[in-house]
């Protein structure tokens, strides 16, 4: 079973990017350690992200080509790979995959032989339900919605382990909830979860707590995306210093 792991620090950064530009669509890339041989059982780590745009620039291939070129140069010299792309549309009505985002994802798939798209909806965090604030799609010759589940911090550090202990009860609930939704949408083949692919994140409760703390400290101001860099070249968009 192939797995994606999203680190909490990256997760928070993409939420902060969405917070900084809450009224605009945002786009960015997901990076992880270099993938050498990919197999159907690989575990792919996502350990950092590069915020790119806070406008419709993602629909224009000039902007996208430029960003991908620079980020892959950065990856080469730092032993990293581009794993995928994240996006949040400014209107929360649309939850589906915009086709320019699919195209970026497919370009990444050509480069790294794997690709994941995260569609963020940060409203899910605000309403007090504190659900996981994105949907994950994985590329298997077409885009398929994959399960997102939260692991407790301990399990996350050890790697992949069965979800069995009591403390994970809540996390299992999240999965079931997602599955119910899929059953509702059962008519639509594309929205079916891919059974042999999973997307995992770190301890979600800890994440929500940390995110709230960062919000109160207004850390989102420190996020710099590529578009800002083009306006003011002094700003470093490739390394985000947020702790």
């Amino acid at each position: 079973m192939s797995q994606f792991h999203l680190s909490n620090s990256t997760h928070i950064q993409l939420l902060l990017h969405a917070t900084k530009y809450f009224s605009e669509p945002i786009t960015g890339l997901l990076l992880g350690p270099k993938i050498k041989n990919i197999s159907s059982t690989s575990t792919i780590q996502i350990t950092s992200c590069v915020p790119l745009f806070h406008s419709n620039a993602f629909t224009l291939s000039s902007n996208v080509d430029l960003a991908l070129t620079l980020v892959s140069t950065f990856c080469e010299s730092n032993d990293l790979s581009i794993i995928g792309v994240y996006h949040s549309s400014s209107d929360n009505n649309s939850q589906d995959l915009p086709s320019p985002i699919k195209k970026i994802g497919e370009t990444i798939n050509k480069m790294t032989k794997t690709s994941v798209v995260l569609i963020i909806d940060d409203q899910k965090l605000k309403k007090g339900k504190e659900q996981i604030a994105f949907k994950a799609y994985c590329y298997r010759s077409k885009w398929i919605n994959v399960k997102v589940s939260s692991l407790s911090q301990k399990n996350f550090q050890q790697g992949i382990e069965e979800l069995s202990s009591e403390e994970n009860e809540k996390d299992v609930l999240v999965i079931e909830e997602e599955e119910e939704k899929v059953q509702e949408q059962g008519k639509n083949k594309n929205s079916k979860f891919l059974k042999n692919c999973q997307f995992q994140i770190g301890d979600h409760e800890a994440l929500v707590e940390k995110f709230k703390k960062f919000l109160s400290e207004e850390k989102f101001r420190q996020i710099v995306d590529f578009e800002e860099h083009l306006q003011n070249p002094e700003l470093d968009f490739l390394t985000q210093n947020i702790n």
Partner: protein, 294 residues
Amino acid sequence: MNKNLETLQNKPNNWKAARDLLREYREKQARNSYEIIKYGLPLINKKSQKLSKEELFEVMEQVFLAGLDVNIEESKTLLLKLQKQFPKSLRVTKLSGLLEEAMGNWKSAITIYKSILKNNPSDQIARKRLVCVSKAQGDVVLTIKNLNNYLSHFQGDTETWEELLEIYLTQQCYSKALYCCEELILAEPNNYQHHYKIANIYYTIGKRTDLIKARQYYAHSIKLLKEQNLKSYYGLYLTANKLKSLYSKNLDQSETQINEQLLQFAADKIKNVYLKLEDNDTKKTVLDFFEKNK
């Protein structure tokens, strides 16, 4: 960093700095909602006697608008105060429409705007808000229809052409977006942003003739703004590079030469921008890239 903002971070109770900061944001029409709420609310609640009446109401309106983004309860309170002060004001009525929109009460918002238009058919803001309501509801087709309808009355409104352009982009209707962008260039021929934008669209369409046009428009954008225009230099580089790699066979000798010159020109300009900067990962990456692609 902004002087007033700096003062406020050290002395959050400095009402003069808060007043000046808000004045500056009003002039720039900046949507820094978090800051406006953070420093504007104490100004209204504790220091209102320090401001002139006119300014106090302007600040209240400003904080009301910021509240729609950040803290809707504060906006409700402020609106009540403003309505009490100006029961018949058209400006305040529009604010109540905005509040309904922010709460997602589309129907009541539409009712408010339509009633304004009934008495003042030429009210541009109400008409624009109606477009925004359809956009917020996610109805792309209706939004495009409304925008076109609006533009048939007010052809010179560049803001609306830009809005329509952005919507066409989200729908990947590039040729229609091109049309909007041409309108913008006609209206504001000296704005480098429009030339940059249309170049991006031509690049995205991406056939050989389009790429040549993209290259022209990037060059023109640079002609209009030679410094502080990094994105156009990047665009010029990228386009010339793409023409070289995809269509070098179709170009005659003089064309190849021109393309090569432009490529070199853009690369040099970009490198010069970065060489002046302090060391960081971005600078290193960009210089690495040009080193590899000499």
